[in-house]
Chain length 252, copies 2
């Protein structure tokens, strides 16, 4: 609303919901999926009922898992660059559709001066509120997300235990994610993820978290005998709810 560029346009009084920024590109297909889920989660009958969204798809963000596991380049500077780009263009609320990137978001919110809707937090709250209750949730995610302990930390706060793949199973999940990112062997990737999910269910998982934004592209509700949780969709719904709430509080 007070971004430097916004001043050049028509009066903003006609659309008081904050501009939603999407810090994406990790990967690009997952960002497209997330944006589509934001659109689908918006109650709208015409174009004009939708939110203003600015999506920055930046494939130059260094690999998050490489940074966490093998001392690869730190993605923080590039993520901060993206957040600042979005804020400069008017975004007042940011979503990051990449689970692993959440290991680096700590300083971004403060340094960029913008609110970030936290996907892992949103997902943990959702899992904790499931009925029938879930006390053990299986995690399908990148090796970086697993090692960073993101879901373990946030779910422990709700007394939910995380069931992890074995090292061998995890390597297969990571390979499947790389296939989805490359657009190749998608069906093979889907089967590998479903198999890893079955093992987690056999070891007591009462729900499965599709904890990498590439996974919901090939694996969803109905692909397992327990609920499949899609953090991308939950983040989209949280973004729409928060932006709508802001619109209401500004209008009131």
């Amino acid at each position: 609303m007070n971004g430097p560029v916004d001043d050049g346009g028509p009066a903003d009084g006609d659309g008081p919901a904050p501009i939603v920024g999407i810090l994406g590109g990790m990967g690009p297909a997952a960002s497209a999926d997330f944006f589509a889920k934001v659109v689908a989660a918006t109650p709208a009958r015409t174009d004009q009922d939708h939110l203003r969204v600015l999506l920055w798809s930046d494939p130059l963000v260094p690999d998050r898992s490489e940074a966490l596991l093998h001392h690869g380049p730190d993605p923080t500077a590039r993520l901060l660059h993206g957040a600042r780009l979005l804020v400069a263009a008017g975004a007042r609320l940011i979503a990051v559709p990449c689970n692993t990137a959440h290991a680096f978001l700590g300083p971004i919110e403060r340094l960029a001066g913008v609110e970030i809707i936290h996907m892992i937090d949103v997902t943990a709250r959702h899992v904790a509120a499931l009925d029938p209750p879930v006390r053990r949730a299986g995690l399908l995610a990148t090796t970086g997300t697993v090692h960073a302990g993101l879901y373990q930390t946030w779910l422990a706060a709700h007394d939910v235990e995380v069931v992890l793949p074995t090292a061998h199973e995890q390597e297969r999940v990571a390979q499947a994610i790389r296939w989805v990112k490359s657009g190749r062997r998608t069906a093979t990737a889907a089967r590998a993820i479903a198999e890893a999910g079955e093992r987690l269910v056999a070891r007591g998982a009462q729900a499965l978290i599709a904890g990498c934004t590439e996974i919901p592209l090939v694996f969803g509700q109905g692909d397992a005998p327990v609920p499949v949780i899609d953090p991308t969709r939950l983040l989209a719904e949280a973004v729409v709810a928060t932006a709508t709430e802001r619109r209401r509080s500004i209008a009131g």
Copy 2:
């Protein structure tokens, strides 16, 4: 590359392809579809092989057909605002995934100082190059696009005649587009569009142009006995080709 915001980030030498701007929100679901098609059209094996894309989804752009048909608010100022926002954030190449909006793009390119890849031009060239040759192409589009004569003008330059729905059929196509935009009655919309397409084929159309970005969401290749042309996909391919070409010429 020399946008004010880009200077705050890491050196751009690591990704010399120009930032692609998407001036979208007309409608938002069509913009999501377009961005997904850009990602799919990019030859990439890892996240890092993709293009940097900035998508501005602005649902506040006044209805394009209303402006063309019923003296509704002119969308030009809002489109120019969006183009300038994208340029200020670093975009050097812009795509507008809305056919009807192309009736207003004339001044935008010059006033915003940025190259716009023209979807109607790209589509007309594609139709003219089809083999076997197409001399009569059916048009499924908004009433605004039909009245603005966009496809008629660009295809005439290639000696391709446009076959239009009758006024009654056109009203059904326009209603179907509104349904897709609202996310309601999608299957009914798909059937209405397929029926309108059949009438055009019966009147001599040798190909059908899905000339509104909402139409490819529900109607595609294989849904008609003639080729179905998807301008959204053609625009995505043209954007990727142009950006890749620029990367090469900068690198060389």
